[in-house]
Amino acid sequence: MNSGTDLGSNNQHTNGYSSRNILFLLLVCCAGLAFLVWVRCGGAGIPCVFHEVTGLKCPGCGITRMIAALSAGDLGAAWRANPFLLATLPYLIFLLAYNAFRWVRNERTGPKFEAAAVVYCAGLVIFGVLRNLV
């Protein structure tokens, strides 16, 4: 085990967490919060290449509006923006949080997690097709 003062090439401390990765995630969260504030104050969202090119809605279409509605407590608007993501929000949060946790520890996720992620992806794809047909 390296000593507490020796950061090594991966910025690892003795408890196995990569401080660099933690910092990166914190920055991302801050950026996300800033973007939410920006959108709630009437700012524009992120333009979507897929929507511009095809005119279709991808599985994630409306996620910005959904999160903005949730932050205002408006479940109805959040549901209209993106029903699949709203319905599977706990599962999605689990997938992202667990992946982030393992990433911060410089560990890889196992095949069971991979299967869980693939199942979610399949759900996303099916929703993406259905929402453009209905």
Partner: protein, 196 residues
Amino acid sequence: MKMCKRCGAANGDSGKFCVECGAPLESRSNRNGGAQGQSRGNMYGGAQGQSRGNMYGGAQGEDFYGGYSDRGPDRSANAQEEIIYTDVAPRSIAVSVILTIVTCGIYFFYWMYHLNNEINEMAQEPMATGGGTVVVLSLVTCGIYTLYWYYKMGERCDYIAQTHTSNNVLYLILGIFGLGIVSVALMQDTVNRALS
């Protein structure tokens, strides 16, 4: 005494793998005219390489020489050596797709940046365009450059995978139809397979 590059543990001189975390102790970049740097920052114009302390795969004794004699340095003498890419690790395609969708495509540029550098390294093209330049050009040209990038990456993936399929055309067509995420997922699959 060898220090493990991943966890910093002290290991004996004769060990090949770290007794604490299992990472390989011998690290060699692939043969790129003597490039020694393990950090991606050395090869690609000072861009900050992401440290990847996770599993290190390696193509087991594959000889990339056959059929591509114009490419890169002469590797016939190295045919028996194991190629270990110390900076390249497999990436979960499913999680990357989810992250791309959830971040309205911002993660896509992160993915593009790293895939570009990883594929360039694995295809023996260290002087190819760096990831940062690729991302900037994609944004500045509203995706036109990205179509070209799909084509070039497809060529390199064909080289890495040692197949005679036309991934370059496939990725380009997918990109034209707005399905660039599929192209990138296929590229990642090529990299993952080459590392396993």
